[in-house]
Protein backbone atom coordinates (compact mmCIF):
# COMPACT_ATOMS: atom_id res chain seq x y z
CA UNK A 1 0.00 0.00 0.00
CA UNK A 2 1.21 3.51 -0.73
CA UNK A 3 0.26 5.59 2.27
CA UNK A 4 0.41 9.36 1.79
CA UNK A 5 0.55 11.17 5.11
CA UNK A 6 0.18 14.93 5.13
CA UNK A 7 -2.07 17.61 3.75
CA UNK A 8 -2.77 20.23 1.13
CA UNK A 9 -3.42 23.81 2.12
CA UNK A 10 -3.41 27.20 0.45
CA UNK A 11 0.40 27.22 0.34
CA UNK A 12 0.98 23.83 -1.25
CA UNK A 13 1.02 20.07 -0.93
CA UNK A 14 2.97 18.43 1.88
CA UNK A 15 2.91 14.63 1.88
CA UNK A 16 5.31 11.89 2.92
CA UNK A 17 4.60 8.79 0.85
CA UNK A 18 5.52 5.36 2.23
CA UNK A 19 5.22 2.15 0.24
CA UNK A 20 4.29 -0.09 3.15
CA UNK A 21 4.60 -3.32 1.13
CA UNK A 22 8.37 -2.82 1.32
CA UNK A 23 8.28 -2.36 5.11
CA UNK A 24 7.36 -6.04 5.43
CA UNK A 25 10.77 -6.98 4.02
CA UNK A 26 12.63 -4.51 6.24
CA UNK A 27 12.67 -5.63 9.88
CA UNK A 28 15.27 -2.98 10.84
CA UNK A 29 12.90 -0.03 10.22
CA UNK A 30 15.88 2.29 9.83
CA UNK A 31 13.69 5.26 8.93
CA UNK A 32 12.36 5.46 12.50
CA UNK A 33 15.73 6.27 14.05
CA UNK A 34 16.93 8.31 11.07
CA UNK A 35 14.33 11.05 11.50
CA UNK A 36 15.83 13.81 13.70
CA UNK A 37 12.32 15.01 14.57
CA UNK A 38 11.14 11.53 15.55
CA UNK A 39 7.96 11.69 13.48
CA UNK A 40 8.07 8.14 12.05
CA UNK A 41 6.79 5.15 13.99
CA UNK A 42 5.99 1.49 13.38
CA UNK A 43 2.29 0.66 13.60
CA UNK A 44 0.12 -2.39 13.05
CA UNK A 45 -2.04 -1.40 10.09
CA UNK A 46 -5.64 -2.44 9.35
CA UNK A 47 -4.39 -5.62 7.70
CA UNK A 48 -2.28 -6.67 10.74
CA UNK A 49 1.07 -5.79 9.12
CA UNK A 50 3.83 -3.91 10.96
CA UNK A 51 4.62 -0.90 8.79
CA UNK A 52 6.16 2.57 9.01
CA UNK A 53 3.81 5.53 9.36
CA UNK A 54 4.03 9.23 10.12
CA UNK A 55 2.84 9.90 13.67
CA UNK A 56 -0.71 11.18 13.83
CA UNK A 57 0.21 14.34 15.73
CA UNK A 58 2.77 15.33 13.08
CA UNK A 59 0.68 14.80 9.94
CA UNK A 60 -0.82 18.28 9.81
CA UNK A 61 2.42 20.18 10.40
CA UNK A 62 4.93 18.49 8.06
CA UNK A 63 5.82 21.71 6.26
CA UNK A 64 7.18 23.11 9.53
CA UNK A 65 8.49 19.94 11.19
CA UNK A 66 10.53 18.87 8.15
CA UNK A 67 11.79 22.39 7.42
CA UNK A 68 15.12 21.88 9.25
CA UNK A 69 16.01 19.02 6.90
CA UNK A 70 15.17 21.15 3.87
CA UNK A 71 17.37 24.25 3.77
CA UNK A 72 16.66 26.48 0.79
CA UNK A 73 20.18 26.03 -0.62
CA UNK A 74 22.68 23.14 -0.64
CA UNK A 75 19.99 20.76 0.55
CA UNK A 76 21.52 17.48 1.80
CA UNK A 77 19.79 14.14 1.18
CA UNK A 78 16.81 13.73 3.51
CA UNK A 79 17.77 11.40 6.41
CA UNK A 80 14.51 9.41 6.30
CA UNK A 81 14.68 8.93 2.53
CA UNK A 82 18.38 7.95 2.62
CA UNK A 83 17.85 5.49 5.48
CA UNK A 84 15.25 3.40 3.67
CA UNK A 85 17.12 0.50 1.99
CA UNK A 86 14.21 -0.08 -0.42
CA UNK A 87 13.78 3.55 -1.51
CA UNK A 88 10.18 3.37 -0.34
CA UNK A 89 9.90 6.74 1.30
CA UNK A 90 9.53 10.05 -0.52
CA UNK A 91 8.43 13.64 0.05
CA UNK A 92 6.19 15.58 -2.33
CA UNK A 93 7.82 18.96 -1.64
Amino acid sequence: MIANYGYTDGSGEYYIAINTDDCLECPQHLCVNACPKNIIEIIEDDYDDLVAAVKDESRKALKYICADCKPSSERPPLPCVSACPNGSLSHTW
Binding site: I2, A3, N4, T8, D9, G10
Partner: protein, 294 residues
Protein backbone atom coordinates in the same frame (compact mmCIF):
# COMPACT_ATOMS: atom_id res chain seq x y z
CA UNK B 1 -38.57 38.11 14.08
CA UNK B 2 -37.24 35.99 11.19
CA UNK B 3 -37.58 32.23 11.48
CA UNK B 4 -34.24 30.59 12.23
CA UNK B 5 -34.11 27.84 9.61
CA UNK B 6 -31.22 25.40 9.43
CA UNK B 7 -30.77 24.94 5.70
CA UNK B 8 -27.75 22.67 6.16
CA UNK B 9 -29.75 20.10 8.14
CA UNK B 10 -30.28 16.83 6.27
CA UNK B 11 -32.81 14.18 7.25
CA UNK B 12 -31.67 11.60 9.80
CA UNK B 13 -33.25 8.22 9.14
CA UNK B 14 -33.19 4.46 9.68
CA UNK B 15 -33.67 1.60 7.22
CA UNK B 16 -34.32 -2.11 7.68
CA UNK B 17 -34.73 -4.98 5.22
CA UNK B 18 -38.24 -6.16 6.03
CA UNK B 19 -37.71 -9.39 4.07
CA UNK B 20 -34.86 -10.58 6.28
CA UNK B 21 -35.04 -12.13 9.75
CA UNK B 22 -31.82 -11.86 11.77
CA UNK B 23 -32.85 -14.90 13.87
CA UNK B 24 -31.81 -17.22 11.07
CA UNK B 25 -28.34 -15.68 10.69
CA UNK B 26 -25.20 -17.43 11.94
CA UNK B 27 -23.10 -14.26 12.25
CA UNK B 28 -24.43 -10.80 13.06
CA UNK B 29 -21.95 -7.94 12.87
CA UNK B 30 -22.12 -4.18 13.13
CA UNK B 31 -20.05 -1.25 11.94
CA UNK B 32 -20.20 2.19 13.56
CA UNK B 33 -18.80 5.15 11.68
CA UNK B 34 -18.54 8.20 13.93
CA UNK B 35 -17.64 10.94 11.49
CA UNK B 36 -17.01 14.61 12.12
CA UNK B 37 -20.46 15.60 10.84
CA UNK B 38 -22.56 12.42 10.62
CA UNK B 39 -22.59 9.01 12.31
CA UNK B 40 -23.85 5.75 10.88
CA UNK B 41 -24.50 2.29 12.29
CA UNK B 42 -24.84 -0.69 9.94
CA UNK B 43 -26.00 -4.15 10.99
CA UNK B 44 -25.22 -7.11 8.74
CA UNK B 45 -26.61 -10.63 8.97
CA UNK B 46 -24.31 -13.26 7.45
CA UNK B 47 -22.53 -10.56 5.44
CA UNK B 48 -25.73 -9.10 3.99
CA UNK B 49 -27.04 -5.63 4.74
CA UNK B 50 -29.85 -5.89 7.31
CA UNK B 51 -30.37 -2.47 8.91
CA UNK B 52 -28.74 0.93 9.24
CA UNK B 53 -29.14 4.34 10.80
CA UNK B 54 -27.75 7.67 9.64
CA UNK B 55 -27.66 10.46 12.19
CA UNK B 56 -25.94 13.76 12.99
CA UNK B 57 -22.76 13.59 15.11
CA UNK B 58 -23.08 15.58 18.31
CA UNK B 59 -20.39 17.03 20.53
CA UNK B 60 -19.79 13.68 22.25
CA UNK B 61 -18.55 10.70 20.17
CA UNK B 62 -19.78 7.92 22.53
CA UNK B 63 -23.26 9.50 22.59
CA UNK B 64 -23.28 9.73 18.80
CA UNK B 65 -22.25 6.07 18.52
CA UNK B 66 -25.00 5.07 20.96
CA UNK B 67 -27.59 7.13 19.09
CA UNK B 68 -26.59 5.55 15.77
CA UNK B 69 -26.71 1.95 17.01
CA UNK B 70 -29.98 2.52 18.90
CA UNK B 71 -31.49 3.87 15.68
CA UNK B 72 -30.32 0.84 13.71
CA UNK B 73 -31.53 -1.63 16.35
CA UNK B 74 -34.95 0.04 16.78
CA UNK B 75 -37.80 -2.18 15.70
CA UNK B 76 -35.59 -5.17 14.87
CA UNK B 77 -35.86 -7.01 18.18
CA UNK B 78 -32.05 -7.17 18.20
CA UNK B 79 -29.97 -6.03 21.16
CA UNK B 80 -26.24 -5.32 21.38
CA UNK B 81 -25.80 -8.75 23.03
CA UNK B 82 -27.03 -10.44 19.83
CA UNK B 83 -24.25 -8.86 17.78
CA UNK B 84 -21.17 -11.09 17.50
CA UNK B 85 -18.59 -8.44 16.62
CA UNK B 86 -18.62 -4.64 16.32
CA UNK B 87 -16.02 -2.46 14.59
CA UNK B 88 -15.75 1.27 15.11
CA UNK B 89 -14.41 3.56 12.40
CA UNK B 90 -14.24 7.24 11.45
CA UNK B 91 -12.96 10.28 13.27
CA UNK B 92 -14.44 9.05 16.59
CA UNK B 93 -13.59 5.36 16.14
CA UNK B 94 -11.62 5.04 19.37
CA UNK B 95 -14.58 6.46 21.30
CA UNK B 96 -17.16 3.82 20.41
CA UNK B 97 -17.73 2.28 23.85
CA UNK B 98 -19.19 -1.05 22.66
CA UNK B 99 -16.79 -1.72 19.73
CA UNK B 100 -14.46 -4.72 19.83
CA UNK B 101 -11.94 -3.11 17.48
CA UNK B 102 -11.24 0.17 15.67
CA UNK B 103 -10.30 0.22 11.98
CA UNK B 104 -9.40 3.35 9.98
CA UNK B 105 -12.08 4.89 7.80
CA UNK B 106 -9.78 4.61 4.77
CA UNK B 107 -9.79 0.80 4.95
CA UNK B 108 -13.52 0.73 5.77
CA UNK B 109 -14.55 3.00 2.88
CA UNK B 110 -12.58 0.85 0.44
CA UNK B 111 -14.24 -2.31 1.78
CA UNK B 112 -17.68 -0.67 1.78
CA UNK B 113 -17.28 0.65 -1.77
CA UNK B 114 -16.20 -2.81 -2.91
CA UNK B 115 -19.45 -4.22 -1.45
CA UNK B 116 -21.65 -1.43 -2.83
CA UNK B 117 -20.10 -0.95 -6.25
CA UNK B 118 -18.64 -4.41 -6.93
CA UNK B 119 -15.18 -5.96 -7.11
CA UNK B 120 -14.27 -3.92 -10.22
CA UNK B 121 -14.10 -0.67 -8.20
CA UNK B 122 -10.50 0.58 -8.15
CA UNK B 123 -10.72 4.27 -7.20
CA UNK B 124 -12.80 5.66 -4.37
CA UNK B 125 -13.38 9.27 -3.50
CA UNK B 126 -14.74 9.73 0.01
CA UNK B 127 -16.14 13.22 0.39
CA UNK B 128 -16.68 13.36 4.11
CA UNK B 129 -17.98 16.03 6.44
CA UNK B 130 -14.61 17.58 7.21
CA UNK B 131 -12.11 15.73 5.06
CA UNK B 132 -11.66 14.26 1.65
CA UNK B 133 -9.89 11.03 0.68
CA UNK B 134 -8.74 9.53 -2.60
CA UNK B 135 -8.28 5.76 -2.29
CA UNK B 136 -7.16 2.98 -4.62
CA UNK B 137 -8.10 -0.60 -3.80
CA UNK B 138 -7.77 -4.10 -5.24
CA UNK B 139 -10.53 -6.54 -6.20
CA UNK B 140 -11.04 -7.50 -2.55
CA UNK B 141 -11.43 -3.92 -1.38
CA UNK B 142 -7.96 -3.82 0.20
CA UNK B 143 -6.36 -0.37 0.08
CA UNK B 144 -3.36 -0.08 -2.28
CA UNK B 145 -2.87 3.70 -2.20
CA UNK B 146 -4.49 6.59 -0.35
CA UNK B 147 -4.21 10.30 0.11
CA UNK B 148 -6.38 12.39 2.36
CA UNK B 149 -6.75 16.04 3.18
CA UNK B 150 -8.27 16.97 6.50
CA UNK B 151 -6.57 20.27 7.07
CA UNK B 152 -8.90 22.32 4.92
CA UNK B 153 -12.70 22.34 4.66
CA UNK B 154 -12.70 23.12 0.92
CA UNK B 155 -14.09 20.07 -0.85
CA UNK B 156 -15.96 18.75 2.17
CA UNK B 157 -19.56 18.38 3.25
CA UNK B 158 -19.21 21.05 5.90
CA UNK B 159 -18.16 23.53 3.22
CA UNK B 160 -21.34 22.78 1.28
CA UNK B 161 -23.42 23.18 4.45
CA UNK B 162 -21.91 26.63 5.04
CA UNK B 163 -22.87 27.65 1.50
CA UNK B 164 -26.41 26.22 1.82
CA UNK B 165 -26.95 28.24 4.99
CA UNK B 166 -25.55 31.42 3.45
CA UNK B 167 -27.78 31.15 0.39
CA UNK B 168 -30.78 29.85 2.37
CA UNK B 169 -31.13 26.80 0.15
CA UNK B 170 -31.96 23.38 1.67
CA UNK B 171 -28.85 21.22 1.36
CA UNK B 172 -30.77 18.53 -0.54
CA UNK B 173 -31.71 21.03 -3.29
CA UNK B 174 -28.24 22.47 -3.86
CA UNK B 175 -27.29 20.05 -6.65
CA UNK B 176 -30.40 20.52 -8.79
CA UNK B 177 -30.47 24.30 -8.31
CA UNK B 178 -26.82 24.61 -9.36
CA UNK B 179 -27.80 23.50 -12.88
CA UNK B 180 -30.44 26.21 -13.28
CA UNK B 181 -27.96 28.59 -14.94
CA UNK B 182 -27.72 29.72 -18.54
CA UNK B 183 -23.99 29.17 -18.67
CA UNK B 184 -21.43 27.77 -16.25
CA UNK B 185 -19.88 30.60 -14.18
CA UNK B 186 -16.18 30.59 -13.20
CA UNK B 187 -15.56 28.71 -9.93
CA UNK B 188 -15.22 30.59 -6.63
CA UNK B 189 -12.17 30.11 -4.38
CA UNK B 190 -11.34 26.43 -4.09
CA UNK B 191 -8.72 26.73 -1.39
CA UNK B 192 -10.70 27.93 1.61
CA UNK B 193 -14.37 27.79 2.68
CA UNK B 194 -14.07 31.05 4.62
CA UNK B 195 -12.76 32.87 1.53
CA UNK B 196 -15.32 31.12 -0.68
CA UNK B 197 -18.10 32.35 1.61
CA UNK B 198 -16.80 35.94 1.47
CA UNK B 199 -16.53 35.65 -2.29
CA UNK B 200 -20.09 34.29 -2.55
CA UNK B 201 -21.40 37.23 -0.50
CA UNK B 202 -19.63 39.66 -2.83
CA UNK B 203 -21.12 37.92 -5.86
CA UNK B 204 -24.63 38.17 -4.37
CA UNK B 205 -24.05 41.89 -3.83
CA UNK B 206 -23.01 42.12 -7.47
CA UNK B 207 -26.43 40.77 -8.44
CA UNK B 208 -25.62 37.08 -9.04
CA UNK B 209 -28.58 34.74 -8.50
CA UNK B 210 -28.31 32.01 -5.86
CA UNK B 211 -28.30 29.38 -8.59
CA UNK B 212 -25.26 30.95 -10.23
CA UNK B 213 -23.37 31.18 -6.92
CA UNK B 214 -24.19 27.54 -6.21
CA UNK B 215 -22.94 26.56 -9.65
CA UNK B 216 -19.70 28.46 -8.99
CA UNK B 217 -19.26 26.74 -5.60
CA UNK B 218 -20.11 23.22 -6.86
CA UNK B 219 -17.63 23.79 -9.68
CA UNK B 220 -14.92 24.92 -7.22
CA UNK B 221 -15.53 21.87 -5.05
CA UNK B 222 -15.34 19.52 -8.05
CA UNK B 223 -12.07 21.16 -9.09
CA UNK B 224 -10.65 20.87 -5.60
CA UNK B 225 -11.34 17.14 -5.22
CA UNK B 226 -10.29 16.38 -8.78
CA UNK B 227 -6.82 17.76 -7.91
CA UNK B 228 -6.61 15.31 -4.99
CA UNK B 229 -7.75 12.46 -7.24
CA UNK B 230 -5.31 13.43 -9.98
CA UNK B 231 -2.43 13.21 -7.54
CA UNK B 232 -3.09 9.48 -6.98
CA UNK B 233 -4.56 8.88 -10.45
CA UNK B 234 -8.06 7.76 -11.37
CA UNK B 235 -8.36 4.10 -12.28
CA UNK B 236 -11.72 2.81 -13.44
CA UNK B 237 -14.07 1.88 -12.03
CA UNK B 238 -14.63 4.92 -9.91
CA UNK B 239 -16.94 5.22 -6.88
CA UNK B 240 -17.89 8.14 -4.64
CA UNK B 241 -18.81 7.73 -0.97
CA UNK B 242 -19.90 10.24 1.65
CA UNK B 243 -22.71 12.76 1.74
CA UNK B 244 -21.51 14.84 -1.22
CA UNK B 245 -22.06 11.80 -3.46
CA UNK B 246 -25.77 12.72 -3.21
CA UNK B 247 -25.11 16.19 -4.66
CA UNK B 248 -25.34 15.92 -8.46
CA UNK B 249 -24.10 19.49 -8.77
CA UNK B 250 -20.66 18.35 -7.59
CA UNK B 251 -20.73 14.77 -8.89
CA UNK B 252 -21.62 15.64 -12.50
CA UNK B 253 -19.12 18.50 -12.65
CA UNK B 254 -16.45 16.21 -11.21
CA UNK B 255 -17.26 13.48 -13.75
CA UNK B 256 -16.93 16.06 -16.52
CA UNK B 257 -13.59 17.32 -15.19
CA UNK B 258 -12.19 13.78 -14.82
CA UNK B 259 -13.79 12.40 -17.97
CA UNK B 260 -14.95 9.37 -15.96
CA UNK B 261 -18.45 8.38 -14.85
CA UNK B 262 -18.87 7.29 -11.23
CA UNK B 263 -20.58 3.96 -10.50
CA UNK B 264 -23.97 4.57 -8.85
CA UNK B 265 -25.87 2.28 -6.45
CA UNK B 266 -29.18 2.41 -4.63
CA UNK B 267 -27.47 2.05 -1.24
CA UNK B 268 -26.96 5.33 0.63
CA UNK B 269 -23.42 6.53 -0.10
CA UNK B 270 -23.11 7.89 3.44
CA UNK B 271 -23.08 4.40 5.01
CA UNK B 272 -20.03 3.13 3.05
CA UNK B 273 -17.66 3.49 6.02
CA UNK B 274 -19.98 1.77 8.52
CA UNK B 275 -20.76 -0.92 5.97
CA UNK B 276 -17.05 -1.57 5.48
CA UNK B 277 -16.62 -1.70 9.26
CA UNK B 278 -19.38 -4.31 9.54
CA UNK B 279 -17.64 -6.38 6.84
CA UNK B 280 -14.33 -6.09 8.73
CA UNK B 281 -16.23 -7.20 11.86
CA UNK B 282 -17.38 -10.37 10.09
CA UNK B 283 -13.84 -11.22 8.97
CA UNK B 284 -12.43 -10.53 12.44
CA UNK B 285 -15.13 -12.63 14.12
CA UNK B 286 -14.47 -15.54 11.77
CA UNK B 287 -10.72 -15.26 12.50
CA UNK B 288 -11.46 -15.26 16.22
CA UNK B 289 -13.67 -18.34 15.85
CA UNK B 290 -11.04 -20.17 13.82
CA UNK B 291 -8.41 -19.41 16.48
CA UNK B 292 -10.61 -20.66 19.32
CA UNK B 293 -11.31 -23.93 17.44
CA UNK B 294 -7.58 -24.42 16.79
Amino acid sequence: MAENKEFWRWTEYSWRDENKDWRGAAIITAGIDVGSVSSQAVIMADGELYAFNNTRTGSNSPDSANKAIEGALAGTGLTLENINFIVGTGYGRVNVPFAHKAVTEIACHARGANFMGGSEIRTILDMGGQDCKAIHCDEKGKVTNFKMNDKCAAGTGRGMEVMADLLEVPITEVGDLSFQVEEEPPPVSSTCVVFAKSEAMALLRDGWKKEKVLAAYCSAMAHRVSSLLDSVGVQEKFFITGGIAKNRGVVERLEKELGVKAVKTKIDSQIAGALGAALFAKTLFEKQQAKSVA
